[in-house]
Symmetry: C2
Subunit: 388 residues, 2 copies
């Protein structure tokens, strides 16, 4: 991991998709200390650029603006895990020796559409077929609302537990200068937000955002001794429709991706110092901490409430503020999480810096668990020698 670059996330009315992408790409090149001509392939994660902005064929549209005409330039789509999927495929190529130097980017420009249309576009990540969940009137907030209610029913999770995740991530995001929403909230505020899809209220939902993030991945012989290594990475899939899952309070694709990434790294959940997980909704963070093995199944809400996932806790989760506070430009989120993990490992996370930051994990989810990408990063010495 030779270089990282991110734009600010937010409702950036004066910025178009390509200008965000170019800013993130140039920052990553500069951070890696390379020129565009050294990049051998371009991997773009973008969920719904054509629907948000009318522009399709985005990979060469962006890579040529960065001075990289000629090389393979390809867009990867896997819903909100689009740039996680782009990263996974880029990692495979470099690890297998196909390329020495590649760029992976995620970008999304969402705020150019009115909110009802944004919700409709996001529904495309679920089952829109005849008789499917979306045809029945679901949206992603309502699907995750059902997951939350079921989690409460099965495990005794309380409304306060969901609120505790929101309070934590807002407090963390307050320390992040790039976050969309830098606003500390109280448990009382988080309990009493405007209802969205009960039991979820406004404070349980992530944001509609514009933003981009990029990384430069290089083979280890081209990296300096302080480069951050990819210790493990995996992508897994499952049914798109929530009603096809035997249980809606655990995601097999997350467990499968985590299992494979841990196996590649030769590490287990107990070896992870901190994590950025996909908190598109507060309940999603709770389920993720369980599926990743940080807490026992059913204990995720209690753990958040008791501070185990706080900055000073046993396993800090979303020290960046998460999607909740940092923002969630969907196609950008996977690579943005990886940038945040790299900054922590390097010790350069400023006010967000954690004490223990040797090994970090990023978990990027698509839809209601149909795609998951898990990436484990760390100082090269921390892995089992399978680093790049």
């Amino acid at each position: 991991m030779a270089g990282i670059g991110k734009t600010r996330f937010g409702a950036l009315a004066d910025r178009d998709l390509r200008s965000l992408a170019v800013e993130a790409g140039n920052k990553a090149l500069s951070d890696a200390g390379i020129v565009p001509e050294e990049v051998q392939a371009f991997y773009l994660g973008n969920f719904a650029g054509p629907e948000f902005t009318s522009q399709n064929h985005l990979a060469p549209y962006i890579s040529t603006a960065l001075g990289m005409a000629g090389i393979p330039s390809t867009r990867f789509e896997a819903a909100c895990a689009s740039s996680g999927a782009a990263f996974f495929h880029a990692f495979l190529s470099v690890a297998a020796g196909v390329y020495d130097t590649v760029m992976v980017m995620g970008v999304e420009k969402m705020t150019c559409q009115p909110n009802p249309r944004v919700t409709e576009i996001l529904c495309g990540a679920g089952d829109c077929g005849p008789g499917g969940e979306m045809a029945a009137g679901s949206t992603f907030p309502s699907l995750f609302g059902m997951i939350a209610r079921r989690h409460m029913h099965e495990f005794g999770t309380l409304r306060e537990h969901l609120a505790a995740v929101a309070v934590k991530n807002h407090a963390n995001g307050f320390l992040n200068p790039d976050a969309q929403m830098r606003k500390v909230i109280t448990l009382e505020q988080a309990m009493n937000g405007r209802p969205i899809a009960e039991p979820l209220n406004l404070y349980d939902c992530s944001l509609v955002s514009d933003g981009a993030a990029a990384v430069v991945l290089r083979a280890s012989h081209l990296c300096g001794p302080d480069a951050v290594a990819v210790l493990g990475a995996a992508q897994a899939s499952d049914y798109v429709a929530l009603d096809r899952k035997p249980s809606i309070t655990t995601f097999p694709a997350v467990r499968e991706a985590a299992f494979r990434a841990y196996a590649m790294a030769g590490l287990g959940p107990g070896d992870i110092d901190f994590a950025e997980v996909h908190d598109c909704f507060t309940i999603a963070e709770i389920v993720a901490t369980e599926d990743l093995g940080f807490v026992e199944r059913g204990r995720g809400g209690f753990a958040a409430f008791e501070g185990e996932t706080g900055r000073a806790g046993r396993i800090p989760v979303n020290a960046s503020g998460g999607l909740k506070s940092k923002g969630h430009p969907v196609g950008a989120t996977g690579v943005a999480q990886i940038c945040d993990v790299v900054r922590q490992i390097r010790g350069g996370a400023g006010e967000m810096q954690l004490d223990r930051h040797g090994v970090g994990l990023a978990q990027n989810l698509g839809g209601s668990g149909a795609t998951c990408v898990v990436t484990i990063l760390g100082e090269p010495s921390r892995g089992e020698g399978r680093v790049l």
Copy 2:
């Protein structure tokens, strides 16, 4: 190349996107003699499924319906070269030893939208930015109309030459049972079609289609002695906007992809027995035959008119009927071309079968030359030992 499978192409009102995809996928599995559980990763090429059908997150939506839940399932988008790009990345993964068995598929369902909306969606493959070609009122027929006029001006290409490509591809498509349009036309008919974007008329334009195609790629130790080998493959990119090109009668991305694919195969244009090229318009076939090195620059129109690219000619091009006659479900086209090449090499192309069929080339273009994928296939003995 262990197995291939295609649906019929056409305006298939009774078929949705997923049923086409599942048909092609099951045919490829059956042709390869494997079960879904043996597939380790799924590579889907699709250009604009979300805009045509509202359904996004298409890779797990399809792979789970084929019985492949769990594995990495990812959609690749590179305009009309989407499934060519998916194939290229799948090939790299198998060649580099990451996977032993993968499925690559291309699918598009276009006829569910009215024609003006189809044209608008296709415009997304060009530059839709402020001041760009599409904002100025261009469409793809008008861009390729400009290319045709410039080619006439520079090289003396005649209207009859464009018509000769249409006549040839219609005659070839008449022999293809899966083709959308099985209709022989005369040179006079082809000269006098309804004007679309002068000098292009109706007979110079490919079709709006529904369809899917799939292949199973396996490492060579898992393939039988009659498997077809990937001898060379490359993907290249260029500016999306046609006005950014120094010349509009040659595509640098095609020349670059061809150069790299020939180098990987250790072959040159003279070693290619036949080719499937991306004739989205007749002029595109003419330019492709030049950029691939089959004829000298500027000679493409003359060569077609003189029969050099006919079934009985020196280098048969689009013996399947091409996009012109077979149909052009955009995201499916790249893999469909590869299926057609494999059928010829196996000697199983029925009435379309060519006499010389040892080494075939497929060229898949995105936009007006912003993406190109070139794949060279052949009997394993024909390459330089770099086969899988």
